[in-house]
Every structure is written in structure tokens, then in C-alpha cells.
Symmetry: C2
Subunit: 176 residues, 2 copies
């Protein structure tokens, strides 16, 4: 484990969550960053017709803001963040994070790399949604996250891949 | 102008581009960051049926990677980056950027803020595409970028807003 990560983890607060428990709901304001020790979480928004649209799935070793736009703009969140399994998380309040950055300047580089990783993940998904068909997106997902099919409801993976649960089921039976 | 930006701009290379000229094409590898002194550029990808889908529009004072995934993963770009007007840009090669970060540690904080701005822009657009209808997205665009209608082809704005050119035309005539 690198030094920056080790310092961060030691300064954070551990908290356990139950499956389906919310980390943030739409309308609340985000002021925390989280690290996943154990479990799976998702970020989702409500579509215009009230459907839940999953836009991010985080698992062990991932960092996430409960709502990144809310965190940086200090405004109410559009996003929900929810545990998909029982979870053990570590969190830091924004005021503590700012103190840690002043105390340990090396953390700036670490944060920078985390932001870049987040951008690459978002960008790769955005491009996949435009350039790949359902099967291509499903196959790409299976390459890195196949084990999630045993951990979380499949309709949430379907939403994340922007396909219907029926199409996902068809693709899975085709493969096996 | 803050000091970090001033240092950066002085160390970059100026280059003029003509309208429609490409900064990067699909298949090429990105190793440069750009700043827009004057003009408008866009990033786009090709959809599965060969249509151009605009995913980002940059203008004066914006920084952009010619292709951010290509830049950080050192792989061929999926993205095209093209000038929509005659442009005066400043660019930095990745090797120079790394040297500057070593020489001026304060730039790390500046870069960090740029990455956060980029994430907020991408995230806000992603959520708008899910939660707002065509009119909502059009009105949001008009709030900050109304002048672009006088500078770039409207079908490109329509593509960016994920609506048809006909819908955009209807929304514009409705407003006036």
C-alpha cells in the first residue's frame, strides 16, 4: 500500500451499512468522500418517468464522493448513493480532507490520480454507450466485473449498461 | 491571472488552426494538452451507424486533452478533436507538462482544479441527458453558451444536446 493511501485510511472514520441503506439521497448535500473496504455501492438518478438509472457501481478499493457535483458546488444532490450489499466503508468529511492536504502535500498527487481514474472510467463508459451495441458493452463489463453478477441484482447491471433486463438475460444465456 | 496559469501559458507553444482542421483523429495517440486562446473546438466520436456525435465543445479559456483516455492510457484515440472556427491554441506535450509539475509544485493544485471542473462539466451533462427533456437541456445550454449559436453550425449543438436539428430549430423559434 502506498504511503498516501496509508495516511488517508488511518485518518478516516469506519462505518458499517446494511444492504439497501442510503449514503445520500436526492436533495441532501454531500460533504464526504468514501472508500470501500468491503461491499458494493451504486450511484443512481431518477429519470423523467421516475425510473432508477444506475450511473456508477463502486466496489472494494474504490473511492467515491457521495455526490461529486453536490460536494464541489455545495448544493443539493441530484444523485442517490445506496449500498447494494452490506458494506464496510471509511469516510472523510471535506473539512478533514482539506486539513490533510495541507499537512501532507503528497496527497495532492494521490488525489490527482484518483480524479484521473474517475474521468477515465466515466469517459470510457460514455464512449461505450455511443459506439458499442448492447453485446459489446456487456462483454466489456464481463472482462473486469464478471463477479458482480453473483453479488448484486442483475436489473441494476442492466440499467448501468443501458440495456433492458430482458436483453441482459438473453446475452447471458447466449454466452453460457 | 493567477500565477500557475501565467507560468503554464508562458511555457506553452502557440499554434493557429483553420476552421475544420483536426487536432486529433481516431486511431492517433494523444500526447498534448491544449488551451483555447481564441476559437471553438469540439470532441466527437462516430456512432455505430457512422454519425458524428459531439460530446464536448470547448471555447476561450478552456483547457482540453486532445483525447484524455488516449493521453493517460497511451493508446489509440476513439475520439476526433476538430476546430469549428479558425483557432489560436497553446499546447504542451506531456513530457513538458511532467517537467513543469516537478519544477512548480503549485501547478499540481491548479491541475487538480482543472480536473474537477472537467468532471463537474461531464457529470452535469450526463445527469441532464437522463433527467431533463430536450427543452430543459436547450434552456440550460442557452444560459451559459447562447453566443455559440452565432459561431458554430447548429447541427453540432443539436448533437451535443442529444436532440435532432429539427427539434433544436423548433425550440429556437418557440423562444423568439
Amino acid at each position: 500500500m502506498n504511503e498516501a493511501l496509508s495516511i488517508l485510511l488511518n485518518k478516516g472514520t469506519s462505518k458499517s451499512y446494511s444492504k439497501k441503506e442510503f449514503i445520500i439521497r436526492q436533495g441532501e448535500t454531500s460533504n464526504k468522500i468514501y472508500f470501500v473496504k468491503h461491499g458494493v455501492t451504486r450511484h443512481y438518478v431518477l429519470t423523467r418517468d421516475g425510473q432508477e438509472k444506475t450511473i456508477r457501481i463502486s466496489l472494494e478499493q474504490d473511492f467515491f464522493y457521495s455526490s461529486i457535483v453536490s460536494y464541489f458546488k455545495n448544493e443539493a444532490s441530484y444523485i442517490y448513493c445506496q449500498c447494494l450489499t452490506d458494506c464496510d466503508l471509511i469516510y472523510w468529511e471535506s473539512s478533514l480532507i482539506e486539513e490533510l492536504f495541507k499537512e501532507y502535500p503528497d496527497l495532492e498527487t494521490f488525489k490527482n490520480q484518483q480524479l484521473i481514474n474517475f474521468i477515465l472510467e466515466k469517459h470510457t463508459r460514455e464512449i461505450a454507450l455511443i459506439t458499442q451495441n448492447a453485446e459489446g458493452r456487456y462483454q466489456q463489463f464481463c472482462k473486469t466485473r464478471l463477479d458482480l453478477f453473483n453479488r448484486i441484482p442483475h436489473h441494476i447491471i442492466a440499467s448501468y449498461l443501458d440495456i433492458t433486463p430482458e436483453t441482459l438475460s438473453r446475452l447471458r444465456s447466449k454466452k453460457s
